[in-house]
């Protein structure tokens, strides 16, 4: 079932000299309900720009984005967004942060058990009353994830949420995301520049090229779950994606 449709989308910005820059050019793809899409590409290929368009934080100059046929005009709780640096509110405790969206939407009588459930699931027990600066980067990202997922969005957008983490913490957060995806069947779109991460998590992988930002290819991930990062199949598929990404570089 098609859920998200991105049609002929162009994002055009102007630099200081007034020069037209095509940040995104002719973007077309569909996302089905329950999929996990990884968008991968070098920096400057417009991945984050694309994710912001899907969330409704920005609007495209040309083209159309729709969810279940309805055009995306503004941010909405049905589309969660996890930022690269988490952007937990530093003035709220971990628990207050996680419940902040629920409080905003449902008022004071929100489902407190749901909050506790996700605190448990994300391994944040014992840190409910800590402030974001007091916990590790991995914990902060898990809390940011919990803050979005607790609202039960139809679509969860992940903007390099593991980008600033070390390798061990990154693998840990990846597993948490995968677990949440499997349990809730939420459609997820992940932006990353880490090939392993894109393959480990994604059911389909959108490979993008920079200047102008275009979709080079959309590849269906042949790997079954559970995935092993060191298996032959994984490494073989990794090579395929790597080749697609390197194409532009060797050309120069």
């Amino acid at each position: 079932m098609v859920q998200l449709t991105v049609q002929n989308v162009n994002r055009v910005l102007h630099d200081n000299a007034g020069q037209r820059i095509n940040v995104l050019e002719d973007i077309n793809f569909n996302v089905n309900s329950g999929e996990f899409i990884s968008i991968i590409g070098p920096s400057g290929c417009g991945k984050t720009t694309l994710l912001r368009l899907i969330s409704g934080l920005d609007q495209p100059e040309e083209g159309q984005l729709t969810v279940d046929g309805k055009p995306i005009t503004h941010p909405d709780v049905s589309r969660g967004y996890v930022f690269q640096h988490g952007s937990l509110f530093p003035w709220e405790t971990i628990k207050e942060n996680i419940s902040s969206g629920l409080k905003a939407v449902y008022g004071r009588h929100y489902d407190k058990k749901l909050v506790d459930h996700y605190i448990d699931l994300m391994g944040l027990k014992g840190f409910e009353s800590a402030y974001p600066h007091q916990v590790s980067g991995g914990m902060a990202q898990r809390a940011a994830l919990a803050r979005s997922i607790v609202l039960r969005p139809e679509l969860l957008l992940l903007d390099e949420p593991m980008g600033a983490l070390d390798a061990f913490t990154r693998a840990d957060v990846q597993n948490v995301i995968q677990r949440v995806w499997k349990q809730t069947r939420t459609t997820m779109i992940l932006v990353t520049h880490d090939i392993d991460e894109a393959i480990y998590l994604g059911t389909r992988i959108i490979v993008m090229t920079p200047r102008p930002g275009r979709i080079k290819e959309i590849v269906t991930n042949p790997l079954t779950f559970p995935r092993d990062r060191t298996s032959d199949d994984f490494l073989k598929f990794r090579r395929t994606i790597q080749d697609k990404l390197n194409f532009g570089v060797t050309e120069n």
């Binding site: 969660g80 967004y81 952007s87 902040s100 905003a104």
Partner: protein
């Protein structure tokens, strides 16, 4: 990390407080200094008792002050030498300062009432000031309450106006366009310049005083609040939007807490200005208050009373300052400590 979890909440809070105290009060405990400070206070008492005075002073209040100070130090040191807690950290840190304060008391007493090196009526001993406070206590207590009340009303009004205007100017471009030019031009005028006009325009001088003090407060608070709102990272606004916050909720849960550090900078700037305006406006327009008391004492030529009011102001304004400091510490408890 795991160890902290196994501590009970009470124990954890205690450990954190102890830790904080040790960074703030960093001078280590030395028994010698603690004893020296007691000796210095005994010297102050003995000097006052036995050196013949050239000026006629009632030293009763001063002696009670020294005794109270001495007893306080004895208690603090006794506790500190037995229990290794915050009191020990605190008293160890201040032992040197207390010693010097004791010696300063000796020196000031000698050069004023004992040898009259600096003379009455413009220079008085601390003993005379304390005696004056004791004599005028009814009037001074009434004046202090009156000043405190006036300051509190005016400061709260000025701060509220400043914060509300600042939040709106920082958040809404249209509002900023229509009001910021006026803020810049009007806010920069020293409140004291309005004094002749306010005394005529306002029906009572009390209202005029409130206006003047609030006027000194609102501008720095508004100005800092605007900067505070504008310095909030767009990430927080955007995540608030994706979490379903309404505009009102964004104001309450993102704009206000995000601007709070700057609001407090504005409040502390305004505090000094407000004390100045409090004293000036009481000197000009009032029939009560510490400013009025000083002006009245000047009129009758009793400078000891001027000193008395100054000492009380020092205490009152210090208390207000530390209260605001505590308030800030609590309101910004989510911030990372810089040291």
């Amino acid at each position: 990390m795991l160890e902290t979890v196994t501590l009970s909440k009470k124990q954890r809070i205690k450990a954190v407080k102890q830790d904080k105290a040790e960074t703030k009060y960093w001078k280590p405990w030395r028994t010698t200094w603690n004893i020296l400070s007691l000796v210095a206070l005994m010297a102050a008492y003995a000097e006052n008792q036995f050196v013949p005075a050239q000026e006629l002073v009632n030293n009763g209040a001063y002696k009670w002050f020294l005794i109270a100070y001495f007893i306080y130090l004895v208690v603090v040191y006794a506790v500190g030498s037995v229990i290794h807690g915050r009191i020990r950290v605190y008293s160890g840190h201040f032992a040197q300062l207390n010693t010097i304060l004791g010696l300063l008391l000796v020196v000031q007493d000698l050069i004023t009432e004992k040898f009259a090196i600096i003379k009455l009526p413009f220079f008085v001993s601390f003993a005379q000031i304390l005696d004056q406070i004791k004599t005028d206590q009814k009037l001074l207590i009434a004046s202090t309450w009156s000043s405190l009340g006036l300051w509190l009303i005016s400061f709260v009004i000025g701060t509220l106006i400043g914060v509300i205007l600042g939040l709106f100017m920082g958040r809404y471009r249209q509002f900023n366009y229509w009001s910021f030019p006026f803020l810049k031009v009007i806010g920069i005028i020293p409140a004291a310049a309005w004094m002749p006009l306010t005394m005529v325009i306002f029906p009572t001088s009390y209202l005029a005083e409130i206006f003047l003090i609030a006027f000194a407060v609102w501008f720095p608070v508004a100005f800092m609040t605007i900067g505070g709102v504008q310095s909030i990272s767009t990430d927080y606004f955007e995540s608030a939007k994706t979490l379903g916050f309404s505009e009102f909720q964004i104001l309450r849960k993102v704009v206000i807490p995000g601007a709070l550090p700057n609001i407090f900078i504005g409040i502390f700037t305004a505090m000094g200005l407000s004390f100045t305006m409090l004293v000036i406006s009481e000197m000009i327009g009032a029939k009560v208050g510490l400013g009025w008391y000083i002006n009245w004492a000047k009129g009758v030529g009793n400078y000891t009373q001027v000193y008395a009011a100054i000492v009380i102001m020092a205490v009152l304004f210090s208390v207000i300052f530390s209260f605001l400091n505590k308030l800030q510490e609590y309101a910004l408890r989510w911030r990372k400590r810089s040291n």
